[in-house]
């Protein structure tokens, strides 16, 4: 796939990430608006102490990260690609941590969080790595 195609993919995935994180941020402050299809797991996760890190809701951190990723994906430069890689890897590590928390510590699963952690973030990481490889291949030609 071309660099352009991968970049568009990153933009699309980032928009999905921004939308999901914005929703989770909104329901953090408006719990009544939470739509949960897994028997209260979303509420349990959202209201656990792990939903806030140093006073900042994790959903807000996610929103900031996805907004940053979107801006960097639109801004096409080598520095942007490097920063995107850093954000993608941080997001992946934190997503793994959040999945472990939900499954083994909080003992409740938030569907929306899982979509972010197990689908959107890994797809974004793959796109970022593919884009990096494309750029390196271009540089060696």
């Amino acid at each position: 796939m071309s660099d352009r195609g991968l970049r568009i993919g990153q933009i699309v995935v980032s928009v999905a990430g921004v939308a999901l994180a914005a929703y989770l941020t909104y329901v953090h402050y408006q719990p009544a608006a939470l739509i949960c299809t897994t028997g209260g797991g979303c509420e349990t996760v959202q209201q656990s102490k792990y939903a806030v890190l140093a006073g900042i809701p994790v959903a807000v951190l996610g929103l900031a990260a996805w907004t940053g990723a979107l801006v960097l994906a639109i801004w096409d430069s080598e520095l942007a690609r490097t920063l995107l890689l850093a954000i993608a890897l941080i997001a992946l590590a934190f997503a793994v941590y959040l999945v472990v928390l939900q499954l083994f510590v909080i003992d409740a699963v938030c569907t929306w969080c899982m979509i972010n952690d197990l689908a959107i973030t890994p797809i974004f990481v793959v796109l970022t790595l593919l884009r990096l490889r494309t750029a390196e291949a271009r540089a060696t030609d």
Partner: protein
């Protein structure tokens, strides 16, 4: 001039920028995860987190059920709401537990959270000493606007009537499961004249309203006289009654 063959390119190492990105990512990720682990352990600096409970970070279902809904003393729901449902209950009463398990979650989600109806828990203690002990604790928690979490947790732990199931350990467990609750103050307030006076006032009110047993439910609209709901303890039975109350 014959073309000069290009020297074979030396095998390139990893891109410097990529290495920097990986190192930065590793440092930030470790910092985030370590921060989360440290700050959520015991009495860390995240005490301001409003709805945490339990050493495992999970939230008890009765706490989650009322999370984010305004409470004031014995009432649950928006203070602006005019339609109020009084619930006369005894914490030892199995049918009160059944109502709490079967109907209350739907009533809260459909009527209380959206601000249509507020609930007022009118605790009675006619079944025995366990009722009295639990009621005192519940009303004392109400002084910190945490009554609804406490009654939900008591119902969750409800034992055989007058078996002595409201032990000090059960009380401690219930209070420890409510985030932001000052357990010591609850236990001190439970025996206070203010709480005893409140119990007596609710008993008198129940007599005036001719409450014949628990659970009993009444609707009050604004300053109008309460009228009793005769309904089964299911969401399906409460919906039309509450809808009628909202229309009328």
């Amino acid at each position: 001039m014959p073309p000069v063959p290009k020297p074979p390119s030396a095998k390139k190492g990893p891109n410097r920028n990529v290495v920097i990105a990986i190192v930065v990512a590793a440092v930030v990720a470790v910092a985030l995860i370590a921060g989360s682990v440290v700050l959520t352990r015991g009495g860390g600096s995240n005490d301001a987190t409003p709805t945490t409970t339990g050493s495992d970070g999970s939230v008890a279902a009765p706490v989650a059920l009322v999370s984010g809904i305004p409470q004031s003393g014995t009432t649950l729901g928006s203070p602006k709401t005019l339609t109020k449902m009084l619930a006369y209950e005894d914490l030892q009463c199995p049918y009160c537990k059944k109502f709490t398990d079967d109907a209350l979650p739907a009533i809260i989600d459909e009527y209380v959270r959206p601000g249509l109806v507020k609930l007022d828990w009118r605790g009675l203690a006619f079944l025995g000493p366990d009722s009295t002990k639990a009621l005192e604790i519940a009303l004392a928690a109400g002084r910190q606007n945490k009554l609804w979490e406490v009654i939900g947790l008591f119902y969750e732990k409800q034992g055989t009537e007058n078996s002595g199931w409201v032990t000090d350990q059960v009380v401690d467990d219930v209070l420890a499961s409510v985030p932001g609750l000052d357990a010591a103050k609850v236990k001190a307030d439970a025996k206070s004249p203010a709480v005893q006076k409140q119990i007596a006032a609710i008993q008198n009110e129940a007599k005036v309203n001719k409450v014949g047993g628990t659970p009993s439910f009444f609707i009050v609209k604004g300053v109008s006289q309460p009228y009793q709901l005769q309904v089964a303890l299911t969401p399906e039975a409460f919906r039309p009654a509450l809808n009628d109350a909202l229309k009328g």
